[in-house]
């Protein structure tokens, strides 16, 4: 196992997440796609840290995971609020929020 295939897997996962972020219609689907992209970045950081023997990469990913979970909590609270006030969480139906 070497570094390049690991980074290719991370790149592929990032691209899949980007597709979901752009194409998903439901807000929760978009949030799940963002999680995929975060996960791809974390995997790339850990792979590089592993290949260079840098412990700081693991610390960085620990912080990243905590921040991602906070982001998911606030994002899902926003989705719940939209679902309660506007009776929908499909992004096309919330377009007038952009003003």
């Amino acid at each position: 196992m070497t570094l390049a295939p690991l980074l290719l897997v991370a790149s592929g996962l990032f691209a899949i997440g980007l597709f979901g972020l752009l194409a998903r219609r439901h807000a929760i689907g978009v949030l799940l796609s963002i999680e995929l992209m975060f996960n791809a970045v974390n995997l790339a950081v850990v792979s590089i840290a592993w290949s260079r023997g840098l412990l700081v990469g693991v610390v960085l990913v620990l912080f990243g995971i905590a921040i991602t979970v906070a982001e998911a909590a606030v994002g899902l609270a926003l989705v719940l609020l939209a679902a309660r006030v506007r009776r929908t969480a499909v992004l096309d139906d919330l377009r007038d929020l952009s003003g």
Partner: protein
């Protein structure tokens, strides 16, 4: 053996990701995301970072899955409409990003030997030593996220 594990985990990660962005049922997407996150934890274990694998399973997979399924039950995850909006430009953008990243990966010169990672004790020491201030700031961020989520989800904000 490690190569076999690598390929199995790679198939799980990428396959789970494809299911996340393509399935119509968002419940299925949430569980496919959990499969992807668990396979990533497998990668972390394979890369000599067992602490990170444990954190990934307990905090990330557990937390995200619980939150998402709860939100789906409340907000309703099923819809009869098409699952994608303008999929072709999105596919082109995603493929372009993958091509750029893959080209960069293949052209870079990587170190021949992997150096591996140390154990959890050194991580703990650096968290409470060199990275003490970011660690404490992180607790403030989590507090802010809890307050923010509570504020947003309160009944009388509607």
């Amino acid at each position: 053996m490690r190569d076999l594990a690598f390929w199995a985990l790679a198939v799980l990660v990428l396959g789970g990701g494809i299911v996340v962005v393509s399935t119509r049922s968002l419940f299925r997407a949430a569980f496919a995301l959990a499969a992807t996150l668990l396979a990533t934890a497998g990668f972390y274990a394979l890369l000599c970072a067992p602490l990170l694998a444990a954190v990934q399973i307990i905090l990330y997979t557990g937390g995200i899955l619980t939150l998402t399924v709860f939100a789906l039950v409340v907000a309703g995850g099923e819809s009869r409409e098409p699952r994608w909006r303008r999929p072709w430009p999105a596919a082109v953008a995603a493929f372009t990003v993958f091509a750029v990243l893959g080209r960069a990966v293949l052209q870079a010169r990587h170190p021949a030997a992997e150096n591996g990672l140390e154990n959890g004790a050194a991580i703990g020491a650096s968290l409470f030593g060199a990275y003490l201030v970011p660690f404490e700031l992180l607790s403030l961020l989590l507090l802010g996220a809890v307050f923010g989520a509570l504020l947003l989800a309160r009944k009388d904000t509607a």
